[in-house]
């Protein structure tokens, strides 16, 4: 049993930390969000150079054959530094969809471009009325000769603003909300009939609603088996959740650091406020939450590659529930312990808090994963 990083992981974690510390500060980040493209192309290129974009891919395709634990190591640093780059949608989500279901041609075509930093992708699994139920798909594809014609809308797609290609879940047969009859298509973001409402999410990263109106794609755009995408979708969502939880953990660490520091320097009633026992115990609770969340993040990243959907789902849902609740509560405590300063946009605390909110909600909120965990655990 070993909870530590491997030597390699320590190495690329440190390099990434250095890169992000050097590239980003609060002003640079905010300028990218408010005035710029919402991410740094330089940092993305640096990721490519460091091999981070190649991490989970097979060696024979230029990758490093890494695991979800490796991407977890990356994601923790992304969260710690509030990095804006679409690593999770491109490398973790589209990456795993390609690995799990891609044809040789698709892999050959796309993975190399992801690794070189020339292709950004996103995966669109939810719809405006579907809440977190990925089986509730009304976007439809109709066969037309050798092509398919796709129409429908996908909602709150992480990285959907930057993606060159988008993997879209589409109903090709079966009833709405059935897990059968779903198919993944790879759609060019600039194809005729594709329109995007793009926006910044709470934490400054980009997202989009994607509208498809009679979008024509060839049969070769099908990713995986027709009508049988459900298990791939679930796996991709689990890997995305595991990575987002790791990001959240990195942000959580910073939230605690900032708060502890503030308790030491802020004085009221003639002494540091950290001398007040009630505030001490709130801080202790935050640390306890963090340490337990960290244990679960390790576990869900360990299990995220598993083919055993129940085992993987339980681990991921556990982390979503635990971090969703404990992180949420800790963020509230952090603001409370800071007092007024914690309410100001200028101070960085709120940015970390909002980053954690994204991880809490995307791919299912606490209630969603609580029910999922229960189903996987107690129903025979």
């Amino acid at each position: 049993m070993d909870f530590g990083y491997s030597e390699e992981q320590v190495l690329f974690s440190n390099s990434l930390q250095k890169l992000l510390s050097d590239s980003y500060n609060v002003d640079v980040r905010r300028a990218l969000v408010e005035d710029g493209p919402g991410y740094s192309e330089d940092v993305w290129k640096a990721f490519a150079e460091m091999g981070l974009l190649a991490l989970p891919f097979p060696e024979d395709m230029g990758g490093f054959d890494g695991t979800s634990v490796d991407t977890m190591v990356v994601a923790i640093e992304l969260g710690r530094h509030l990095a804006l780059e679409p690593y999770v949608p491109t490398v973790v989500m589209a990456g795993s969809a390609l690995k799990l279901a891609g044809s040789d041609a698709q892999k050959t075509d796309l993975i190399a471009k992801i690794i070189s930093g020339d292709l950004k992708m996103a995966v669109a699994l939810t719809e405006p009325g579907s809440r977190f139920d990925m089986a509730d798909v009304t976007t439809r594809a109709v066969a037309n000769g050798d092509d398919y014609i796709i129409s429908g809308s996908k909602s709150v797609v992480l990285g959907g603003d930057l993606a060159d290609k988008i993997i879209v879940s589409v109903r090709t047969s079966g009833d709405t909300r059935s897990e059968d009859g779903l198919t993944l298509f790879i759609v060019d973001a600039n194809a005729d009939g594709v329109s995007r409402e793009t926006y910044s999410l709470l934490d400054g990263r980009g997202g989009a609603d994607i509208h498809l109106e009679n979008v024509r794609v060839p049969a070769s755009a099908v990713l995986g088996t027709l009508d049988q995408a459900w298990s791939v979708m679930e796996h991709v969502a689990d890997q995305a959740s595991a990575a987002l939880c790791a990001e959240s953990l990195g942000a959580f660490e910073k939230v605690n650091e900032l708060t502890l520091e503030y308790l030491k320097v802020r004085e009221q009633f003639g002494r540091p406020i950290g001398k007040f026992q009630v505030l001490q115990h709130h801080m202790a609770d935050m640390v306890i939450e963090y340490e337990h969340a960290r244990s679960l993040v390790c576990q869900s990243s360990m299990k995220a590659d598993s083919e055993d959907a129940a085992e993987r789902g339980k681990a991921v849902s556990s982390t979503k529930v635990y971090l969703g609740e404990g992180g949420h509560k800790s963020c509230q405590s952090a603001i409370q312990l800071h007092g007024g300063i914690g309410m100001t946009a200028e101070y960085e605390l709120g940015d970390f808090v909002k980053r954690m909110a994204i991880s809490e909600v995307l791919f299912g909120d606490v209630d969603h994963h609580l029910v999922r965990f229960g189903k996987l655990s107690y129903l025979d």
């Binding site: 999410l201 004085e267 007024g340 909002k354």
Partner: protein, 397 residues
């Protein structure tokens, strides 16, 4: 024991409803329900309507325009206002500095300031908190030194709500450094147009900038702008802070929040059914509604027992619970909205915006409101400070 309103109280409620139906600007109510931000003009229009009806300064002495309402009447008025979506009245003139002037001000001050508050000429803000003096307000450092007939003020105030709109500010300033913290403070009225007053808005995590830093640099204030006696400002400040009886619990606002929450929960769907039927969500909603009812009744108990026992600690309880409920409402509204609460949309919150918001209509205000509400357990005496008050005054620990 009778928890029903009396016939007189019900009649009063009817009177308020009629007034609101006829005189409250409906477009402001629409903004409230849509979660849009008010303009300062909105507040002015609403105050003018109240003024015209003689209801703008209910808590003042009758000779200055007060209504002599009972606490229960004041509460009914509040509740009905929230029900139609009226903005919470900006309290600084009418509820805060007004009563201080009526109680402790000179005749000249009364004559000058009270009418100006009512007719909207003076728009006030409150200069209490400082960067180093938050929960520990008495440690404030802004200095006022008498120079001839003028106080020369130097220092910095912060968290000053509405300072960007206000033309007057009432400040706590240190006029004596030789005595204990609380004893050397005075209560000073400052024209914001005086040279040396600078306002810098503070943007909050909600995206709004409702509060400001106010810098005071060699600001010269006429001697007669000091309220009451020199060095007695702490007494007036305590009076001001303890003067609020109604509205502490925010029951009216809570009821409006509940209406909006239920509306969202009927629109949003989960597993093919309205969210309001989801067992876990419904349980949280039920708890919240029950807690609001407990707060409402406890608030009514305090109102019907005013002056009896220990209202100070009672007010602290209501502040603690009321602020927590405000937070939980915004939290559950955000939760019900799901992933569409995640896009950060400030535009749709502006009154003059006419683009298309992402997601359902109720989505855009959710996250900003949630983050804004985090302040409720911090300002006006944080939850921790309120519990300290309960500890000392009620428990005797």
């Amino acid at each position: 024991m009778d928890l029903n309103y009396s016939a007189e109280e019900e009649a009063f409620r009817q009177e308020v409803r009629t007034f609101l139906k006829e005189k409250f600007p409906q477009d402001i109510g629409d903004k409230t329900r849509a979660g849009k931000r008010y303009s300062n003009v909105d507040n002015g229009r609403w105050q003018a309507a109240l003024y015209a009806n003689g209801w703008d300064v209910p808590s003042w002495p009758v000779e200055h325009g007060g209504t002599n309402w009972t606490p229960v009447q004041a509460d009914i008025f509040d509740e009905e206002c929230f029900a139609v979506g009226a903005p919470r009245m900006v309290p600084f003139g009418t509820r805060l500095v007004g009563p201080v002037i009526t109680n402790f001000g000179s005749d000249a001050q009364k004559k000058k300031y009270l009418p100006a508050i009512r007719n909207g000429d003076h728009f006030w803000c409150q200069g209490f908190s400082e960067p180093g003096a938050g929960s520990d307000l008495a440690s404030l450092k802004t200095r006022a030194v008498l120079d001839g007939d003028e106080w020369v003020v130097n220092g910095q105030k912060t968290w000053t709500s509405s300072a960007q709109y206000a033309n007057w500010i009432f400040c706590l300033v240190r006029t004596n450094t030789e005595v204990k913290n609380q004893e050397g403070i005075s209560f000073l009225l400052i024209d914001m147009a005086t040279p040396g007053v600078t306002v810098r808005p503070i943007v909050l995590i909600s995206g709004e900038a409702p509060v400001n830093e106010v810098f005071l640099e060699d600001v010269r204030v006429p001697k007669e702008n000091l309220v009451g006696e020199v060095d007695m400002g702490w007494t007036y400040a305590k009076f001001l802070l303890g003067n609020e009886r109604t509205g502490i619990a925010g029951v009216g606002a809570g009821k409006a929040d509940l209406v909006e929450l239920k509306r969202i929960a009927r629109v949003e769907r989960k597993n093919g059914k309205p969210m309001i039927e989801d067992p876990l969500f419904q349980a949280r909603l039920s708890r919240l509604e029950i807690d609001l009812k407990a707060l409402e009744l406890t608030n009514m108990r305090m109102l019907s027992e005013v002056g009896d026992g220990n209202p100070g600690a009672f007010a602290s309880m209501l502040k603690i619970r009321g602020s927590e409920l405000q937070q939980r409402f915004s939290e559950l509204q955000m939760e019900a909205t799901g992933a569409y609460a995640l896009p950060w949309q400030q535009g749709p919150l502006e009154a003059d915006w006419n683009g298309k918001a992402v997601g359902p209509d109720h989505a855009a205000p959710r996250a900003p409101l949630y983050y804004d509400r985090r302040k409720t357990t911090i300002y006006g005496g944080s939850t921790e400070v309120q519990k300290n008050i309960i500890t000392k005054s009620l428990l005797g620990l």
